[in-house]
């Protein structure tokens, strides 16, 4: 490299004439130095004519050329005289190109719309989205219930794969979490029950709360987090890579190939997962009952059979398929909503999880009210 000269802009004022000279060979990375000096001098210098002395410059990149071209244009617009020195061929070529192709003052921000416009667009958007979801739900239901009458059309292989992926693989984490929840609930209530000497009632409490509410809810939340998100992401990427379109053109219905196996797998597996969650939760509670309240396993089991009616167990299990339907529907719907950019995968995956957990809780509240009013 030649002698290193500090990058900068030299301004020489002689009466009415200002001479600008570039020092060093500034690349775009260090151009801001020159930009600042140039701005400062244009504000201060009141010269009538400007000379750009570029004779010593050996090379110039397009960013510098643009900066000079802009300053020349600005000077000419304010009726100043601009003189260009002789330049080396490459520098001159670059400056000409910059002048030819420049669009100064372009801005790439889209025009801002008013708040009314935004509200209108958003409302219309929400209505369309809701209608979209209804139509999707309808389509799903038709195919889902239709598949019961055409058992041969169900893709058994995909379904068993999904049963393993979304169901069996979720078993350890669901059981472990439910065991810990059993422990926590039992431990917290033990402290209160001890005060009243009502130790034995821990069985009633654990039995009903776990079988009826906690186990189904927890299983659903974990499945929503595991499988709802994976359905959304997978189907979303398949949409971006045009795999869904490829399936359609080959005459494979994406619903039959992707949607039904996943949905059936979850509908089948959810009650089973809840069953195992029940077991893990009760074992956790039983452990604390023994350690903390001195309730032996035999007494716990006797009391359990006596006071916890089997309907609680069935109600818990019955919720499973409904939760499964919601989780699968929302996950897949969100996957199909993915647009042609990567950000919308993240966005829709998040939405899939949040919305399915929310839907599960709403559905649970609904069941609670209905069953209580029916007297179960």
């Amino acid at each position: 490299m030649a002698a290193k000269v500090k990058v900068g802009l030299l301004v020489i004022l002689e009466g009415e004439v200002a001479t600008y000279k570039i020092q060093g060979s500034p690349t775009v990375q260090r151009l801001s130095i020159i930009e600042k000096q140039l701005h400062a001098s244009t504000d201060n210098v009141k010269a009538k004519s400007i000379v750009w002395d570029l004779s010593e410059l050996e090379s110039m990149d397009s960013a510098l050329a643009l900066l000079i071209a802009k300053s020349i244009e600005n000077a000419q617009n304010s009726d100043k005289e601009v003189v260009l020195s002789a330049m080396q061929h490459d520098v001159e070529k670059m400056l000409h190109m910059a002048q030819e192709h420049a669009h100064f003052g372009t801005h790439f921000k889209p025009a801002k719309e008013g708040i009314l416009h935004a509200v209108g667009v958003d409302s219309a958007d929400r209505v369309t989205k809701f209608l979209d979801f209804l139509s999707f739900f309808g389509q799903m239901s038709v195919i889902f219930f239709g598949s019961f009458f055409h058992l041969l059309h169900i893709r058994w292989k995909e379904m068993t794969f999904e049963i393993y992926e979304s169901g069996i693989k979720a078993l350890p984490i669901i059981m472990l979490t439910m065991f810990l929840i059993g422990v926590v609930v039992a431990y917290q209530s033990a402290a209160q029950l001890k005060l009243y000497g009502a130790n034995i009632f821990i069985v009633d409490m654990l039995g009903i709360s776990i079988l009826r509410e906690l186990a189904p809810m927890l299983a659903a939340i974990i499945v929503a987090g595991r499988s709802g998100s994976s359905y959304a992401a997978q189907i979303g990427v398949m949409k971006i890579t045009e795999e869904l379109d490829a399936m359609r053109t080959m005459g494979f219905d994406p619903y039959a190939f992707l949607v039904i196996p996943r949905m059936l797998a979850l509908v089948i597996m959810m009650p089973i997962l809840i069953f195992f969650a029940d077991i893990a939760g009760i074992i956790g509670g039983m452990l604390i009952a023994k350690v903390d309240l001195g309730l032996s396993t035999t007494i716990f089991m006797e009391r359990f059979v006596e006071v916890v009616k089997v309907k609680h167990f069935w109600i818990g299990l019955l919720k499973g398929p409904f939760f499964a339907m919601l989780i699968a529907t929302i996950g897949i719907y969100r996957g199909l909503q993915v647009k042609n950019d990567t950000q919308s995968i993240g966005f829709n995956t998040t939405k899939a999880v949040v919305e399915s957990i929310f839907a599960v809780i709403i559905c649970d509240a609904f069941f609670s009210i209905v069953f209580t009013n029916l007297g179960y």
Binding site: A63, L66, L67, T106, P110
Partner: protein, 250 residues
């Protein structure tokens, strides 16, 4: 034109697991030329390109880029090298969450302290020289056509005024008219911006329109290196098959 070697590849061996891809590749690219990697598919053209731009490691040998050996280069020098090249990927690799103008402006915002107006001026200039409309800058990659995406990606790779431009199959997926436009654009930009261009290409017309020199990779080795006329004289089954295919020439 004085021939300064800007890229030198010496004895590069590449192996993926048991699969030997390159067995001693030697070639060099001179400053200011448009250089192409040719060869049957699966011969490792793109792999070689990816090795030169430090995305892939090679087993042995050495690659020298702008006087730096990339196999021993430190983090800082590597970063400095990256400032001096632009890469156009086969699938464009535009960031889908940013508009075209934001895609182009990204490096400027990250690596310079220029004012937003100056950045916009540079972006507008690059948009113009690749032949897009200023309005296209406000659109997202999903809203523009394949040819426009190519041009936008090219503008992005040119934003820091690189010395070397790497193109991975630049005309694939373009219609013949856009492809020829793109060829003209590459040659024009090389002349305007004093670029050295290295590209992987399958497109015969594009090869004869743009390339000054090229290397033919076949059977893990370079079977020929030189200008189109020189290459055509060399006896190799691939070269004969490749250039006898007249379908593409109208």
């Amino acid at each position: 034109m004085h021939s300064n070697k800007i890229i030198e590849v010496n004895n590069v061996v590449t192996q993926f697991g048991k699969n030997l891809v390159h067995d001693g590749i030697n070639l060099h690219v001179n400053e200011g030329e448009i250089y192409g990697f040719l060869g049957p598919s699966g011969c490792g053209k793109t792999t070689l390109l990816r090795e030169i731009i430090m995305l892939e490691n090679f087993k042995s040998g050495s690659i020298e880029l702008l006087g730096q050996k990339i196999e021993t280069v430190g983090m800082r020098e590597a970063q400095r090298l990256r400032m001096q090249w632009g890469v156009l990927f086969q699938s464009n690799a535009l960031f889908t969450s940013l508009t075209v103008a934001e895609n182009i402006a990204l490096s400027l915002q990250e690596y310079t302290n220029l004012s937003p107006e100056a950045i916009n001026d540079i972006v507008a200039f690059k948009i113009d020289i690749v032949g897009l409309n200023q309005f296209d800058g406000t659109l997202y990659p999903s809203e523009i056509s394949g040819g426009m995406k190519k041009k936008a990606a090219l503008a992005r790779s040119l934003v820091m005024d690189p010395k070397i431009l790497f193109l991975d199959e630049p005309t694939s997926g373009l219609d013949p008219i856009s492809a020829r436009e793109f060829d003209t654009l590459i040659v024009k930009l090389r002349d305007l911006l004093n670029l050295t261009v290295v590209m992987v290409s399958h497109d015969l017309t594009s090869i004869s329109n743009t390339l000054d020199r090229m290397a033919v990779i076949d059977n893990k080795k370079i079977v020929a290196e030189g200008s189109l006329e020189e290459i055509k004289k060399i006896k190799s089954p691939f070269i004969e098959r490749f250039f006898s295919n007249k379908r593409e020439r109208i």
